[in-house]
Amino acid sequence: MPRILTCVKSVPDPADEVAFTADHTIERPASGVVLSPLDEYAVEQALRLREALPGATVSALTVGPPPAEGALRKALQLGADDAYLVADEAITGSDVFGTVQVLAAAVRSLPDVAVVLCGMSSTDGDLGVLPALLAEALGWPLLSMASVVTITETGLQIERTDEVGTRTVEATLPAVVSVTDQSGEVRYPSFKEVMAAKKRTVTTLDLAALGVEPALVGAGAARVQVSAVTRNPDRPPGRVLLDHDGSSVDELLAFLTAN
């Protein structure tokens, strides 16, 4: 009964202006957090793998304060079978290294995990490195930034396109996979799934349940401390030159020479 585990994150709505707290962390109000848009692709990929693997189930996992459950509820509505929230005061202010420790412990605590799926990056932190660090912590192969995911006889194969070119990469299971926004359209939750999701369980875990030392996570363990966050002035709108009679050429040349 292979378990496909999707890591998701609750983030401030990317359409809103972000706010920072006094200690320079992002404000995460109970309302106004959404399932990170790039993680929807990870959930979609998990559902597609479930359709292809007999007996497979999809679990969603997130680390965050209680409002982070919102991301899990959305994953359940999309079709995940169950969900897990790791919430603990001691996790507050964790950097990516701390977060990975918690996620790895959670993955290890769940039986039969065959694939861990992640989005390509979060829309708030925007590092894009968590999947690589998670694979390293688990000692599993990394298949990251996939635009295509295929099941093979021996495991999984992905296609990845980046600055280097397009690579085909294969690995045996269990493995960590991250998918990009090019990996396939995210389905709309059907009314049936949304209703069924209400009955599915969200299990809450804490550091003690996972056996993670609080000293290894949280703001105190973070390898970088933010000292200041400043709002930059909005960029002035660019000048648009409209041309009816060819005179804009002189204006354009004057602008380019001056700048």
Partner: protein
């Protein structure tokens, strides 16, 4: 003085412009040492020296092509340890971000991606980056003895080292990456090179629209 390991890139045997930017930044932080994955022609070694590299390490690794990111990360981690580097500088990018993170994990070092500035302030490494699509500038202080930074192109203006005249000796070695169970790259279709500067490295971008009718001659000339 701190040793700053710069992951240097060559394109067609020549040092690329992000590398010159990294070396310029490295001089502000300590003594730069260049790491090249592959061969270093004599002219490239001279360029690295003229931008401040006090030593050049040319390291090859037979496992690179088949490895997605782990072999390169292990190579950088090994060389950072071997050179005693306090800071590792790498050009920003998807490929490099993952590699930098794994190197930081291996070194127990701090990681900052997409840095636009870095400086030594009373023995602490201060790093600046921009977040939330350019809306906010963040100043941060590294808490660990070592750090790995990926640096955005065009954030630092490259300048030759006024004191850099010697061509540094190139030390070559082969790094063998032994992996447990890892992903294997089975095919690669390289991205086609257009011959111009990379979009992510350009400081000015000139765009043409429908009015060009498909002929970009005039646009290219303007650029």
């Amino acid at each position: 003085m701190s040793t700053i390991l710069v992951l240097a890139s060559l394109t067609a045997g020549e040092v690329d412009s992000p590398t010159l930017e990294l070396l310029t930044l490295a001089r502000d932080l300590g003594a730069p040492v260049a790491l090249v994955v592959g061969d270093v022609p004599a002219a490239a070694a001279a360029t690295l020296g003229s931008y401040g590299a006090t030593a050049v390490h040319a390291v090859d690794c037979p496992q690179l092509t088949a490895s997605l990111v782990t072999a390169r990360a292990a190579l950088v981690t090994e060389m950072a340890t071997a050179t005693g580097a306090e800071v590792v500088l790498v050009a920003a990018g998807t490929e490099n971000a993952e590699m930098a993170a794994l190197a930081a994990a291996g070194l127990g070092a701090a990681l900052v991606t997409d840095a636009v500035a870095a400086s030594d302030v009373d023995g602490s490494l201060h790093v600046t980056k921009v977040v939330w699509a350019g809306q906010h500038t963040v100043e941060a202080v590294v808490q660990t003895p070592r750090a790995v930074l990926t640096v955005k192109p065009n954030a630092v203006a490259p300048s030759p080292d006024p004191m850099g005249g010697c061509v540094p000796a190139v030390e070559t070695r082969v790094f063998v990456h032994e992996a447990a169970r890892e992903a294997v790259v089975t095919a690669l279709v390289p991205s086609a090179a257009t011959g111009g500067p990379k979009l992510t490295e350009a400081s000015v971008v000139v765009a043409g629209g429908r009015g060009t009718g498909g002929d970009f001659g005039a646009v290219t000339e303007l650029a």
